[in-house]
């Protein structure tokens, strides 16, 4: 598959995720769109790793593209940790103001 296809696919998914973050007001949905963005990046990384593997094998280096996939692994690790903490925060927020609307989170103004 020409790498361009994967690039465009990843970019599209990423931008859909951005639109979701900007457009929605529910904190949980926003969080989900962030996960979507992360996944788009993961896809791109894997595609690139295979591309490099192909080039590397042609040049005699059989283990050329593993870095990309390991990076994806770590991204998943971090995403998991982040989701747990983030959702804890959202639950706390709900407990205090009984809403998950981000427009109520304007304490940064003060």
């Amino acid at each position: 598959m020409p790498i361009n296809y994967y690039i465009f696919l990843a970019i599209s998914l990423f931008c859909i995720g951005i639109v979701g973050v900007l457009t929605r007001r529910n904190a949980i949905i926003i969080f989900m769109c962030i996960e979507l963005m992360l996944n788009a990046v993961n896809l791109l990384l894997v595609a690139f790793s295979k591309m490099h593997h192909l080039n590397g094998v042609a040049q005699g280096n059989p283990a050329a593209g593993t870095d990309g996939q390991l990076f994806v692994f770590f991204i998943m690790v971090v995403a998991a940790a982040e989701v747990s903490v983030g959702l804890a925060i959202i639950v706390m927020m709900y407990r205090n103001i009984h809403s998950v609307d981000v427009n109520f989170l304007n304490r940064l103004k003060h």
């Binding site: 427009n103 989170l105 304007n106 940064l108 103004k109």
Partner: protein
């Protein structure tokens, strides 16, 4: 081995120390101490001036250079004093008459509080210092320092009783009119620097004598310098400040506005005599303005009722005479008249001060009369002063005024005629004032009559000394046609004016003509004196004048004219600039910047909505811009 005259810097330095000591210590020193410091510094300066004078008389002239005052590029202006015949003579006059007036002031100003007493003496000492700088300077810039200094002290001393707004206005008027003249003076100095390269007298005069100035240059410079002199020495058109300056204490009027500051203009022209001799156009202007001023001021004095105002206009008139002398090339006559005028005018002012003191502050001569019985010394000295100024033979005024008249005749008989007419008016108004004040019956209130007494010694002794000087002071300048070779002053001052005599080649008038002229003038003057004396002893002018006299009493309405065409438009311009320009434009601009910033910040503050969503939006937009820049705008 340096010239002994190098110590001449002490002469101005001592009054300067007096200024500092009295100025800083005025709250702590007693009146006695203040008086001693004030008078003592001038006295020591006088003694040194006497020594300097004898040195110069023995032929020792010197330029004492101390340090470089201004050194910039090609221009070096040294702080240097020039001691020659002219400056040493002026030194004597300034310190001598100044000392007498200082002594007089210790008694006259006795009623002031201690710190104001100290303030007065510090200003007076500062004035003497500035005047000394003016006459000692060896170049135009040092002279200008003194020039400005005396203007400043004039302002300070006229407005001495600062709680009175009228006096403050008079002080402002004096200073502002002086300033107009100073501007012309400065332009002349700049012109000289641009043409000659420096401002030392020696260099400038050599430059002029070598005919290196073009005619326009020389005429312009001399006219500008003369305009400066009109401001300082109260000639037309800048003379109206002098009568108003009578708001200051009487000793101030005596010192500054009779004997010294107003003669600064004469000194300056006398010093620059070669420049003037080489520009006949300016000489004519100087003579005509001097003559006109003398005449106009004399007419105004005919109808004044304040004793000091009469003397003020008399001063303006006599200054006009001196400028007439300068304009006709009779430089020695002008300097001679400066000297004699200093004596008798100071005497007259101090005498009037004594009268005012005795009358408890009253200055209107219509309320005086018959004072000769109560104040013998003041009366006698005042009479001598009046006789001197009128030009009665035997007294100093006669010799100097006669020389001026002779010079005017040598120039043109018309000048002589007008000058003679003015001399007659002088005699008339002086004796009008004398008779109204001292003769006849007393017209004041009863308390004033009880209060009448002769003034204390500190006042009368200077009067007597000045009276003696007014009598014998003329004998240093006995003219040729009376006694041959007795004009000591002319011989003494010859080196200063030698170059001018070569250029001008003054034509002598024959001795016979001189005798005739002197005879005519003396006779007419005596007639006027007797007429005025007898008329005003019997019937003094009590009511306000009518008809032509009204114009004279109102000083030819010149003040009103100036008010209308200069003061009011300037004030209107100033208030326009203040209201419209300042408030709307300038303040608007400055405030506008503030308001703009405020508005901008208020708009920007909306960005900080606290909404996380908008922050993310901005982040995305930023990223967008970054990508655009990175990929598309960078080649």
């Amino acid at each position: 081995m340096k010239n002994l005259l190098h110590i001449v810097f002490l002469i101005p330095l001592l009054p300067f120390f007096g200024f500092v000591i009295n100025g800083l210590g005025r709250k702590y020193l007693t009146k006695g101490l203040i008086g001693i410091v004030g008078c003592g510094s001038v006295l020591v300066s006088f003694l040194i001036s006497v020594w300097v004078f004898t040195e110069v008389k023995n032929g020792n002239t010197y330029i004492a250079s101390y340090f470089d005052f201004i050194k910039v590029g090609d221009l070096t202006i040294p702080f240097a004093f020039q001691i020659d015949q002219l400056s040493s003579l002026f030194l004597l006059i300034i310190t001598g008459v100044g000392f007498l007036i200082h002594v007089y002031s210790t008694s006259y100003m006795h009623g002031e509080e201690d710190d104001h007493f100290g303030r007065y003496f510090s200003y007076l000492n500062l004035f003497v210092f500035s005047m000394l700088l003016l006459v000692l300077g060896a170049n135009y810039v040092i002279m200008f320092i003194g020039w400005e200094g005396v203007g400043l002290c004039s302002y300070l001393l006229i407005g001495y009783w600062f709680k009175n707004t009228g006096f403050n206005k008079a002080a402002n008027k004096a200073f502002i009119m002086n300033r107009i003249g100073d501007l012309a003076f400065l332009i002349a100095v700049f012109w000289i620097i641009s043409k000659v390269g420096n401002v030392n007298y020696g260099d400038v005069f050599a430059f002029a004598q070598a005919n290196k100035f073009t005619t326009t240059d020389l005429t312009a410079i001399t006219i500008l310098l003369f305009i400066g002199a009109t401001g300082k020495s109260a000639q037309i058109p800048l003379y109206t400040w002098l009568p108003d300056a009578m708001a200051g204490p009487t000793p101030v009027s005596a010192l500054i506005h009779a004997a010294t500051m107003v003669t600064a203009g004469i000194y300056m022209i006398a010093r620059s005599n070669i420049l003037y001799s080489l520009s006949p156009v300016t000489m004519n202007i100087v003579a005509i303005i001097g003559l006109a001023t003398a005449l106009v001021a004399a007419t105004i004095a005919l109808r004044q009722n304040d004793i000091k105002k009469v003397l003020a206009y008399s001063t303006v008139s006599q200054l006009g005479y001196m400028f007439l002398a300068l304009g006709t090339g009779a430089y020695v006559a002008a300097v001679f008249h400066v000297m004699t005028h200093a004596f008798f005018k100071a005497l007259l002012f101090l005498g009037s001060g004594s009268v005012i003191h005795a009358m408890g502050g009253e200055q209107d001569i219509r309320k005086m009369g018959g004072l000769s019985k109560h104040m013998k010394t003041t009366h006698a000295t005042f009479l001598i002063g009046c006789l001197a100024i009128a030009g009665i033979p035997g007294l100093s005024g006669f010799f100097s005024k006669d020389e001026i008249l002779a010079g005017a005749f040598a120039k043109s008989p018309v000048f002589y005629a007008i000058a003679l007419g003015t001399a007659l008016l002088t005699a008339f108004y002086m004796f009008r004032m004398y008779a109204t004040t001292f003769k006849g019956t007393f017209r004041g209130t009863h308390e004033q009559e009880h209060h009448l007494h002769e003034s204390p010694a500190a006042i009368t002794v200077p009067l007597v000394i000045l009276a003696i000087l007014s009598v014998i002071g003329g004998y240093v300048g006995v003219p040729e046609f009376i006694i041959h070779g007795a004009h000591f002053l002319g011989d003494f001052l010859f080196p200063v004016f030698a170059a001018s005599y070569e250029v001008l080649k003054p034509h002598e008038i024959s001795h016979q003509t001189e005798w005739i002229l002197t005879g005519i003038s003396t006779a007419l003057i005596l007639v006027m004196v007797i007429f005025a004396w007898t008329r005003y002893s019997r019937k003094p002018d009590m009511e306000d004048a009518k008809g032509f006299g009204k114009i004279l009493q109102h000083k030819w309405y010149v003040d009103e004219l100036y008010e209308k065409i200069i003061v009011r438009p300037l004030n209107a311009l100033a208030s326009f600039l203040n209201e419209v320009f300042e408030k709307t434009v300038l303040d608007g601009m400055v405030n506008g910047v503030g308001r703009l910033v405020n508005y901008g910040s208020r708009q920007l503050r909306l960005l900080q909505s606290g909404q996380v969503g908008s922050y993310v939006l901005l982040m995305v937009v930023g990223m967008l811009l970054f990508f655009v820049f990175q990929f598309f705008l960078r080649k």
